[in-house]
């Protein structure tokens, strides 16, 4: 490796010190891909797909965290879908109820989802992409984030598995072999 002299070191150190300051001037998002605004809309959306009732829903399960994480992972081919689709959801919401989706009461959010699902949603974005396809995508990913393995960033603390009463980790040593009756079980 090239030897670092003092001057070079000071230059590098200065650059390193400035870099985060520059990054900080942008709006801070705790997410990997989503902006704060997008995450707010998506959270409201997922929250209706798996709502909270006596058991935790998509919000408590961290489904947005799952989607955000996968959007920089295996699902990165859907980045554009989310970036534009979430704008579209707000456009539809504005057209129908004059407010952003996340600010609507539950019944009005459901009304927006109903038109999205039918693919009849109003909004500039939906002129060039299918509202139904986007809605289906979000439904799919929400189910994955809610019912899937917690290792991927959703299903926090295994909330959906607790709801269904399936223990994790599984109980080992349950073979229950009855070798006294060869050929015929139990």
């Amino acid at each position: 490796m090239r030897k670092l002299n003092r001057r070079k070191f000071m230059q590098l150190a200065a650059t390193a010190a400035v870099a985060p300051t520059i990054a900080c001037t942008k709006a801070i998002s705790q997410w990997r891909f989503l902006t704060l605004e997008e995450a707010r809309t998506l959270e409201a959306l997922c929250g209706q797909i798996v709502p909270t009732d006596q058991d935790p829903g998509a919000t408590q399960a961290g489904v947005v965290n799952f989607i955000d994480r996968q959007l920089v992972g295996h699902l990165k081919r859907h980045q554009e879908d989310y970036r534009e689709g979430l704008v579209g959801v707000d456009q539809t919401s504005q057209a129908l109820h004059g407010r952003k989706f996340a600010d609507l009461p539950v019944e009005k959010q459901l009304a927006v989802l109903a038109v999205l699902e039918k693919g009849e949603a109003a909004g500039e974005v939906w002129k060039k992409r299918s509202a139904k396809a986007f809605f289906d995508l979000v439904v799919n990913h929400t189910m994955q984030g809610f019912y899937g393995d917690p290792r991927h960033g959703g299903n926090r603390d295994g909330v959906s598995w607790k709801m269904l009463g399936v223990p994790y980790p599984p109980i080992r040593g349950r073979q229950q072999y009855d070798l006294t009756k060869p050929g015929k079980s139990g």
């Binding site: 009732d53 829903g57 459901l110 072999y177 079980s185």
Partner: protein
């Protein structure tokens, strides 16, 4: 530069190739076994319900990868789609040492006698290339037995009156019944059906130096954490390597089969794990890449003598792609049927495999593997929305109260359901990719409907409070059960390989995998692929000891 010549190159370390490699190596031939995937172990079992062979929502766990592999899929409307391995339309079978057998559900069926004589049994069918096999159940029987004992199969089919005669029982007893197994068994007996413990390549007692199934929920599509599932990766391939005559080269992608001016095969060109093009000369080449990849390799191996690809003089390579038309039913119960005892798919009936009035073929019915929460959330239930409060309520209420019964209904082969090589699209290595197109035969769907209704009747008799059917679509099926694309036959004009799996006009080239199946039975095909591999290996070894394929 060419590598040192060996006696045989086997392409693909799956159900077929693993066995051929072992049989040849043990008989004293020097063998190179090429596998495009990796060699996973039980330690790679991640029990990941979003990333496995059955649910590739976040990728195919056991290959191939989405970055380097692609196919063209032509849908029912004739539209082309570029598909990746984690897309359903790719019709993926795992690419790793062991192939599909590394992560399969391990059902290990013998086909029935009639499954080899479909044309004689049902006559000619319009729009179908339905034909008899050139070999019979009796020809394969000793090899079925060899597969059952060497790979390891558990179960008890002594109560199955429809099976072909067997000389030896299965080597391992079945698992004790889980709750849904018991409910289905008792009810089937009431209905006058013939339930029995399905044969599965799974240790239920210690066998072959490995332990028994611990009955977890993650079976089909997953690697086995305790190595109780038996595939070629933990049985014959280690034996092949132990013989000292076999070298396994992983992450090697075959490009083409090389031929000389006399029309004989001289070896294989492949890309090694560092993407370098290599040439492996051999006296004998065995293609065992699966029914969607083997024809691709043959079609990509063009030369002056074989302008349309190897074995393709009469345009039969890639034809008759078939899988299974899965049909069955779901039932909801007003009591818990779930007891968290895996793996499921342990109770079966063969009452509807043949003899269904006015129909062609049929399929075995068995209970489904354990439905994991995400899989259950994906069921489309009539009258239940697929999202929102009502959906959540449905999942919560019925997760432990459902039974699914389904089975692989035999498909009537269609000439135009096929694998071609796409004229434009190439993969990461620049090799033209598989192009899949075609539809299911309407007769297949009639049979599927019949079998599905029988499954529903069974569940209703079990006490289901609500039932609904699971029906296959008109679309092509291939995937895990893919078969038929290099048909075995006596007539070189209507088949690709002869009864010994030898390509008709190339004496030192063999195809040994599901591709050679004339029809695919009403069963999971793995054990039949294995039996054929033993059968074909026998022929290869005998010929080798005589002429060494130089004649």
């Amino acid at each position: 530069m060419a590598l040192k010549k060996v006696n045989a190159v086997v392409i693909g370390a799956g159900a077929g190739g693993g066995i051929v490699a072992k049989e040849l190596a043990v008989a004293g031939l020097s063998v190179v076994l090429l596998e495009r995937g990796k060699w996973y172990t039980p330690f790679d079992c991640r029990k990941d319900d979003l990333r496995n062979q059955r649910v590739p929502a976040l990728g195919s766990a056991f290959g191939p990868d989405d970055d380097r592999y692609v196919r063209v899929f032509v849908d029912a409307k004739g539209e082309e789609h570029l598909v990746r391995p984690s897309d359903g339309d790719y019709h993926n079978n795992a690419a790793c040492v062991g192939g599909g057998t590394f992560s399969y559900g391990a059902l290990a069926w013998r086909y029935m006698e009639k499954d080899f004589r479909m044309r004689s049994t049902y006559g000619a069918v319009e729009g179908s290339t339905l034909e008899d096999w050139p070999i019979s159940y009796n020809d394969l029987e000793p090899y079925y037995e060899k597969a059952e004992w060497e790979i390891g199969v558990s179960g008890d089919d002594s109560n199955n009156p429809f099976k072909g005669p067997r000389k030896k029982p299965l080597p391992m007893p079945p698992l004790p019944a889980a709750r849904e197994n018991q409910i289905l068994r008792d009810t089937a007996e009431l209905l006058g059906l013939h339930p029995f413990d399905a044969p599965t390549a799974r240790n239920t007692v210690p066998y072959n130096g490995r332990g028994a199934c611990m009955r977890c929920r993650w079976c089909v599509g997953f690697a086995c954490e305790v190595d109780a599932k038996c595939g070629t990766h933990n049985t014959v391939i280690p034996k092949a390597l132990n013989s000292g005559n076999c070298e396994l080269r992983t992450e090697c992608v075959a490009k083409e089969i090389l031929t000389d001016a006399k029309g004989r095969v001289t070896g294989v060109a492949y890309f090694d794990s560092n993407d370098r093009l290599q040439e492996q000369p051999a006296d004998l080449v065995v293609v065992s890449g699966s029914a969607t990849e083997s024809p691709r390799l043959l079609l990509n191996s063009k030369s002056a003598l074989f302008p349309n690809g190897l074995g393709n003089r009469y345009d039969w390579v890639g034809r008759n792609l078939q899988g299974h038309a899965y049909a069955g039913a779901y039932g909801l119960f007003d009591f818990d049927v779930y007891d968290d005892l895996g793996p499921g798919a342990t109770l079966a009936i063969c009452d509807y495999n043949h003899g269904n009035p006015g129909l062609i073929g049929g399929g075995a019915l068995a209970n489904e593997f354990v439905r994991l929460p995400y899989n259950f959330s994906q069921l489309r239930v009539p009258g239940v929305p697929r999202w929102g409060a009502a959906h959540k309520e449905f999942v919560r209420k019925w997760f432990k109260r459902n039974i699914a019964v389904h089975g692989p209904v035999q498909e009537i082969p269609v000439f135009d359901s096929r694998v071609q090589v796409d004229p434009k699209v190439k993969d990461y290595w620049g090799i033209p990719v598989s192009r899949l197109s075609g539809l299911n035969h309407p007769k297949t769907l009639e049979t599927a409907k019949y079998v599905a209704l029988k499954a529903e009747t069974w569940l209703k008799e079990c006490g289901a409070v609500q039932t609904w059917l699971k029906m296959p679509g008109r679309g092509l099926s291939g995937s895990q059960h893919q078969a038929g694309t290099c048909r075995m036959g006596d007539d070189p004009k209507t088949s690709v390989v002869n009864r010994n799996c030898q390509v008709h006009d190339v004496p030192n080239l063999f195809v040994v995998d599901g591709s050679v199946h004339v029809t695919n039975g009403g069963f999971n095909p793995a054990l039949t692929i294995m039996a054929i591999a033993y059968y074909a290996s026998d022929h290869m070894v005998r010929t080798w000891k005589g002429t060494q394929f130089r004649g």
